[in-house]
């Protein structure tokens, strides 16, 4: 287990250093599928953040009483409960957004960001740190997919948040709101993000650790211990 970190470093960790979308490449399915519009990205990010914070908190609270062997089913149950809450809330309060996001709201249950944080963070840390981790990761995810959604919406439909912005500048290229455009925008943003924020020394250290550790448990430890 890594050394104790301040709650703020835990929070900012999710924004840049371990940004779930641009650095960890987790949750690719919603990141590519719902980001045809900036608004959808924002809505999806907010919903996932809510589930992430709540499930992190509960999982952190029950981490000592859940037997190791059944922890995954236990986590799924917790996450599914909060996802159901989000889904019902959205259906009641924002039916329009709910319709746009469609199947991707129920699919938050199997969103790997939430699973990864439960496994890598909440089950090893106290409730306050877990909430901060959930907030940071959720915000990182929200910002990332809102940016992807903005780029795709502006280039592909000529609007941003539904407001026309490029009327006389250029013809929107429909490809950007279709799947191939999603992959391209994603790739370029990941590349740009890594170019801007990469800390070469830390990367090297994390790489060697990840390379020598065997399998997924080793990887997650390396990711976690790399910056300690």
């Amino acid at each position: 287990m890594a050394e104790k970190k301040s709650v703020f470093s835990v929070f900012f960790n999710g924004l840049i250093k371990e940004n779930p979308t641009f650095r960890l490449l987790l949750g690719m399915c919603p990141s590519l599928a719902v980001t045809t519009m900036a608004k959808n990205g924002l809505g999806m990010g907010a919903a996932a953040t809510f589930v992430l914070v709540c499930s992190n908190l509960v999982i952190s609270l029950i981490r000592k009483i859940v037997p190791d062997k059944v922890r995954i089913p236990a986590y799924i149950t917790v996450i599914a409960a909060f996802t159901t809450i989000v889904q019902l809330l959205l259906a009641a309060l924002l039916p329009e957004l709910n319709k746009q996001l469609g199947i991707y709201i129920p699919l938050i249950v199997v969103n790997c960001i939430i699973f990864a944080r439960a496994e890598m963070f909440a089950q090893k840390n106290g409730p306050v740190a877990s909430i901060m981790d959930g907030l940071g990761m959720g915000l990182g995810f929200t910002i990332a997919i809102t940016v992807i959604g903005s780029v795709r919406e502006i280039l592909g439909a000529g609007t941003w948040m539904g407001i026309p912005v490029t009327v006389n500048l250029f013809d929107p290229a429909t490809i950007f709101i279709l799947p191939p455009g999603g992959f391209m925008v994603m790739g370029f943003l990941v590349a740009a993000f890594n170019k801007i924020f990469s800390d070469k020394k830390a990367d090297k250290k994390a790489d060697t650790k990840a390379a020598c550790a065997a399998g997924c448990p080793g990887c997650s430890k390396a990711m976690h211990g790399g910056e300690a």
């Binding site: 250029f170 013809d171 290229a173 429909t174 191939p180 391209m184």
Partner: protein, 319 residues
């Protein structure tokens, strides 16, 4: 240095061929088709082809510079990509759209994957497919040949032969289709001009006959078998002359980087292209499928290469 490393299966003979010489041959072979396109579609076509060629070379230079790699515009491959892209565009699209296509072809498809010899798709075709998805309405606006297409306002919508087949109307005569007096992309209409260029390439040994022959042959047999009035009633010549089949078979399916290395591989690849082309033409809602067929077989090329790798003499039975 990297220009002299052409990979093919053994045995090898030292031939003085360089990338630059081969590309120059391809450019020479494309001249008849380019001139025919300009003859039939006017000044606008000339501007488009010039724009894609120049912008491809420019993007090649800038991309290599930005990625801190050696300058490769001297190998002329960007000129070929630009020419082919221009010849694959409809005559009435705006110039800036063609330049977006050049950027996609050179920067994204070619240079991001490592430059010449590394791209897994034909850059010109990938750019055409991208433009078709991005700007569907402009990319399917065909113009009537031999009208004064000096500006876009004059351009009247005019169906391509394959479009007529899908939506009904009068088909052009086979002679018109052979000479190029039909709707279509700038460089695809004149079968005569493409054949002249193709024969030049074959005579110079730049391409082998396998891909063009098996590709058009598969299309012909498929067209003949799956005719409109039952088995063996189809019009072979129509399907060979229509669309961009000949341009694709001679100039784009034969791209060294994206077609298989062995003869057996090339034959499998060409038959695959032919089958896919005809499936797209006859059984989907798209009028033409040459570009998608070639792109799909480009993706299958590593697999074909793997299964058609020649055995070493005296080597093991199973690889």
């Amino acid at each position: 240095m990297e220009n002299s490393l052409l990979v093919s299966s053994s045995p090898h003979i030292r031939s003085g061929a360089t990338t630059q010489k081969l590309m120059l041959d391809v450019i020479i072979a494309l001249i008849p088709a380019t001139l025919a396109g300009i003859w039939f579609f006017g000044v606008n076509a000339a501007i488009l082809v010039a724009a894609t060629t120049l912008s491809c070379v420019l993007f090649e230079y800038l991309a290599r510079k930005a990625l801190k790699r050696s300058n490769t515009i001297g190998d002329l491959s960007a000129v070929v990509t630009g020419l082919l892209l221009g010849l694959n565009l409809p005559p009435a699209i705006p110039v800036w759209m063609a330049i977006v296509g050049s950027f996609f072809a050179i920067f994204i498809v070619k240079q991001l994957f490592g430059g010449i010899g590394q791209n897994f798709l034909n850059p010109a075709l990938a750019a055409r497919a991208m433009l078709l998805v991005a700007y569907g309405s402009k990319m399917t606006l065909w113009t009537k040949p031999l009208t004064s297409a000096f500006n876009n306002a004059d351009a009247v919508s005019y169906a391509t032969p394959l479009g007529v087949l899908k939506e009904g109307g009068d088909l052009p005569s086979l002679i018109d289709m052979f000479l190029g007096n039909r709707g279509g992309s700038i460089g695809e209409t004149s079968a005569l001009a493409i054949l002249i260029g193709g024969i030049y390439l074959l005579a110079r040994g730049v391409i082998s006959w396998h891909i063009p022959v098996f590709y058009t042959g598969t299309v012909a047999i498929f067209a003949w078998m799956a005719g409109p009035n039952g088995l063996f009633t189809g019009d072979m010549l129509f399907h060979i002359l229509a669309g961009s089949l000949l341009l694709g078979a001679f100039f784009m399916a034969t791209d060294y980087t994206t077609c298989p290395m062995t003869q057996k591989g090339m034959i499998i690849y060409a038959i695959g292209c032919g089958l896919l082309t005809m499936i797209f033409r006859l059984y989907t809602n798209m009028p033409e499928g040459v570009s998608y067929a070639i792109l799909l077989m480009n993706v299958a090329t590593p697999l074909i290469d793997r299964y058609t790798m020649p055995k070493r003499f005296g080597g093991a039975a199973n690889v």
